[in-house]
Symmetry: C2
Subunit: 379 residues, 2 copies
Amino acid sequence: MSFIATPQSMHFAEALRLQSGASIRDYTLAYETYGELNAARDNAVLVCHALNASHHVAGMYEGQPKSEGWWDNMIGPGKPLDTNRFFVIGINNLGSCFGSTGPMHKHPDTGEVYGADFPVVTVEDWVNAQALLLDRLGVAQLAAVMGGSLGGMQALSWTLQYPERVRHAVVVASAPNLTAENIAFNEVARRAIVTDPDFHGGHFYRHGVIPQRGLRIARMIGHITYLSDDVMNEKFGRQLREGMDLKYSTQDIEFQIESYLRYQGDKFSEYFDANTYLLITRALDYFDPARRHGGNLAQALAVARAKFLLVSFSTDWRFSPQRSREIVQALLENRRDVSYAEIDAPHGHDAFLLDDARYMSVVRSYFDSIAKELQGEQP
Amino acid sequence: MSFIATPQSMHFAEALRLQSGASIRDYTLAYETYGELNAARDNAVLVCHALNASHHVAGMYEGQPKSEGWWDNMIGPGKPLDTNRFFVIGINNLGSCFGSTGPMHKHPDTGEVYGADFPVVTVEDWVNAQALLLDRLGVAQLAAVMGGSLGGMQALSWTLQYPERVRHAVVVASAPNLTAENIAFNEVARRAIVTDPDFHGGHFYRHGVIPQRGLRIARMIGHITYLSDDVMNEKFGRQLREGMDLKYSTQDIEFQIESYLRYQGDKFSEYFDANTYLLITRALDYFDPARRHGGNLAQALAVARAKFLLVSFSTDWRFSPQRSREIVQALLENRRDVSYAEIDAPHGHDAFLLDDARYMSVVRSYFDSIAKELQGEQP
């Protein structure tokens, strides 16, 4: 049983200039906060979300059992990121489909639903929007910014876009950019959505349909890449769904893993927005702070002032430990203060959301030391 | 410039009983042979194909430049499998779409195109059909059976189904069964095809359409799994397709890897049959000789009498070296004669089709020793 969380939202009338050159105005950001901002206003921690998550980071909604936030095991009273000590903020990113302005909302000029016309948003754009919301909350400097996967990219980007506003960055299961293979998986998922006849060029809302076939395929591909080969073999292996006899069918479910994937695909296609899927995978593809520095990551990270904790997981083949080590190396070349933990966990990329004693303990210690730092003690 | 190959075909009127319990009659197998069967009839080598290949293993068709067979670098006069010494046979598997009877042909009873009603065929069924064709060619015993990937599974299965008919088995980039992750990728590809509105439950032929969207997605997924992360980064990395400027679009091509994948998907969807794709991926899923032995592979391989060469490739994550080592281990437990080469190659699963000096040399030596054995010399 977790604590009660209350979603909030904030409206921004002024136009936000986006990296693409486009801009967006009259948008809303959904967010939640847990714990209390202290008098010194120096105990705020921003938690950034990945593809499929939201501002509902921890706690549960009143009267809704099973509504725990996506990082409820990590964040809350007495948890590794302890809301008795820190003021934690979760913000749903622009273009997402969980409360902040996104493709299913209306363009303020035309009154038409954005659909495929929602502007392309990047990690940098999200960070800029988050910064505006923090301004309104009176948070000038973050004790820490934290995220896993795409959330880790946002945390890293914060230290580059607003170096003076971030004291610590906790970057979990992330990467300095996507590999060609990562982009390839995103592209297949996007093609599955875009070529679904119910996509209608991204304006499916006005046709009263949803490109569910495409979303199912996209989610199934995603799921395979979140898990390790080992954990799939351990959880499902070659188990048949029904008894011992093969059915000899190409279309019926034969193996448990097929049943699991279809279930995940079906569930996802009922709540996730197709245009949001395109936008968020594109934001992943585009993130590459070294790009403007000829691929030199150390040069790109030279502006960072924060202290860093990087965490990776041994069986994560989507964002492998090697990618985290690239960030560590680039930070060390800039003589930044970096801690790095490579957790030997069987669960693949998903490990960053799961309970693992060593992982939890590394994060707990890191936030303990931040808390001591805030109290003026030596960390 | 390779030698000229001539496709042939053989009709089988008698019913072939399939593993599923169904049977098929009045079917045709397309095949090719290269080299000459010697007087002792002991120099025949059967080469089994994988998902996307056929009986056209080597050589080229008269007047058709660029029509080289899929393993033309491996097989031909003076090549590692030397057709000056061996009589090489390639057979298109039942259910495929390159000349043998498949889903686009008519059921002899009803006169209707099989479509989704084509019976499910397994690796074991293919081997049985191949054996019937060899009977007709007068090949009682094979000097060797050889194959890569799914072809390697057939080679392995030959040694179990017809232990006395195989002197050597060359099993390249293969596995004793699929992992859960392998099955998962197959399942996503199948769902993309089956849920394409143009699939029409597998009877799309009569609607005059082809489920091209699904085939494209299936092929894109396949391609990602054939290549290693390393070779993708080396070939494509994060290169943009056009110049240096980002377009900021979710649907247009931005990165080279996207362009490459879309091209591969388009090409494949124009020539490959959707029902064949389902059948062949299912045959992969089902193959598991240890299944009837409670998962004990050593027990399953106890009947084999052949000598073995196993080859795997370091960066193959679809059929990793670990899977080949499982076969080697199980054969050694049965005191079988096994050679094993783990080739350090960057190309992933695709490596088995590519030129690699060490790989070619291992196969060449192995066939040299078979040739000596046939001449009665000590190998």
